[in-house]
Amino acid sequence: AMADGLEPDPAALRELSGPAALSVLIALIAVALTLLIWRFVQGRRSSRKAVLLLGLCDAGKTLLFARLLSGKYRDTQTSITDSSATYRPSRDKSTNVTLIDLPGHESLRLQFLERFKAAARAIVFVVDSVAFQREVKDVAEFLYQVLVDGTVLRNAPALLIACNKQDVTMAKSAKLIQQQLEKELNTLRVTRSAAPTTLDSSGGPAQLGKKGKDFDFSQLPMKVEFVECSARGSKGEEGDADLEGLEKWLVKVA
């Protein structure tokens, strides 16, 4: 009786084999393929939708963030954590990006950069044009750390260096800032690669730009632009901010 019970099954299977099994197999492969493609596309599209606002402490990142999103002036304090919101660069295009404002304090900046660098489609590096002369070494060091990061080099997100606080008369121009940064980064290449290696000797930092030649922003794998802006705005707190260049660039990047 047991043998009888078992016998019909192989027979039934043999009947099923042929076109039916083949179609089942094809269906399975098709489903798997679509899933893979969909995940891949989704991943690619959603992974890098962020625009990071980086910079030293007091550069004006949080105010820039507020101005871009709401157009209003807000008082700000030193940020201790990140803030993110979706931003629509232009009214006609339906694309939007996630604007992320990271804290600039020395003890936090690298941690937050680690967290968000993989998702970065573009980086806005905010520089305080008034205090630049005094802070040039610190600015250059942070910029260097951002530029030699493995993930950043691989993804090559577009970089904009926003020279903020242009409403003050003593502010340095974007051209001057570019020249000074190039000179400083040139020196930093040498000193940083000569620094004692870290404890776990994870290999030296990547080389920035071309060896032998003086450092230039055009040697970098990503597109770098310099723009002047003023988050506070020349008409004081009630007026609008002077962010045209920045907004145009964001439209381009989105």
Partner: protein, 641 residues
Amino acid sequence: MLDFFTIFSKGGLVLWCFQGVRGPAATAPVNALIRSVLLQERGGNNSFTHEALTLKYKLDNQFELVFVVGFQKILTLTYVDKLIDDVHKEFRDKYRNEFQQKGALGLLNGTFDFKDDFMRLLRDAEESSKVRAPTVMKTFEQSLKSQKTVKCMIETRGEKPKEKVKNKKNKGSKKEGNEAVAAPTKGSVGDKQLSAAGDKEELTKDEILQKNREEFFRRHMKAGEKSRSPKPDAQKEKGKKPRVWDLGNSNAKVLDYSNSATNGSAEACPVEEFDPDMALGDKNREPGRLYDLEYESDDEAEEEKVIQNPSKPSAKKGGLGGMFGMLKGLVGSKSLTRADMDPVLEKMKDHLIAKNVAAEIAVQLCESVAKKLEGKVMGTFTTVTSTVKQALQEALVQILQPQRRVDVLRDVMDAQRHHRPYVVTFCGVNGVGKSTNLAKISFWLIENGFSVLIAACDTFRAGAVEQLRTHTRRLNALHPPESHGGRTMVQLYEKGYGKDAAGIAMEAISYARNQGFDVVLVDTAGRMQDNAPLMTALAKLIAVNAPDLVLFVGEALVGNEAVDQLVKFNKALADHSMAQTPRLIDGIVLTKFDTIDDKVGAAISMTYITSKPIVFVGTGQTYCDLRSLNAKAVVAALMKA
């Protein structure tokens, strides 16, 4: 009375601000608060002093808000804590929607019109602190003194004690008011008086006094004899008598309880069963040889197991209730309370201390992490342990990140451009490795093409100058002048022993300037932090010579001592400096790092106390054993179980 009250989000947007009495802007003190307290993980106590202001703050970890109130330091306002709590609750409840639903955009676009509520809460708080009116002083009529007659207060000699006792009795009777006179309770006397005292209410006060006085006299007559008997005693005790011990005068014989028969005679003590094996133990030992200490790691493992076992049954007891709580926690939207975090934090604190972090620093760190996590809503599938561990890890990485730029070569290049030498001073306690690491750092500088002058300012320790001379010779052999364009890359400047270190340093620096050396490395003698004259000498050396970099050399093996050393060194440097902003320790060199496996806690202790970066790490005794700190690797080693 408040100077200001601000509410801002952790992302930096000021949501609402109240500018009080007179108005220096609130931003600067609040920024100082954020930088020194919150970002340096000193969030244990919730008040902070900045110039003339005291700042108190409260964190809301659920909605990521910070509430800060500032008032003058000289005022002590008692209602501030309560005010902050009330404001927190009201603000959160009123604007809950903005926070929860709209996120950052809600914060940006929302208008937070809180002024009326705040004024109301402030008024309530001030009222509550004034509720207890100061007690009104009694008027003279109300006091007892006015009810005594003048007569009773006159003191005549001989009757003094009587008067005093009488007054006491009178006072007692006044206090009890209309009650029967309770004080003279000697029954025989009292009966007659009680019946009369029953009408006390109608008697005037004078008559009451009179009656009491008569009573008292009567008693006193009776007690007269009694009072006389203590008098002879008093007379007797007038002169102080020497104390007489019972057996003091008797001679030693009485005190000698030893059995004189037993000493010296062999029969008195019974012969024990003498087992030579038990006494000597190891039969195979060589007579006379001193063996090494044997290190057994098995015992320690067993002890740990024993300690763990008792804790397991208590975990089992948690049982069903714990399981449901865990499930609820796993699914999310559970906010952390102090009670949840305490056991985990205790364990983390012990873990940190086991990894050689100084005890008080581990405590402060855990407190700060608790403050940061209180009230935070956990995400899905996260347990309390993992949240706390994550927060602690972030806090540790934050501490180890340098607050200022750490790039010695860049600064040396700067100094080179200005044609002056870059001066580095090494200080520390005895035997931490100052001279060894000085040699390593000079090797590194020479490799990068800078010429070094070593100033031997250790004029005390025997052989210090010779040690540096040997190093100089070796370095010159490794980097001969020929390979660097005829320039001697390293030279020693010494003036022998016994001279003043500060003077030698000054001479060395001017010599370096004349000869065009790029860097001057000043080696000082090791000194204990408690040794005041030596600390003064070190402070003088640093104050007079104004070096560019003051490096404190500390060994990684140090435990709780690190805190004491650094605090006292910094204090000494600050006390003896004449300048407005005294030169303190600028950086730390952590030495003997190869001797600790993963007990890397000393790095945390040192950076926490000084908030200065670890510039170099020494990992051995050869010239190449110089590294820089990798914060992530150190924290990983620290958090490893």
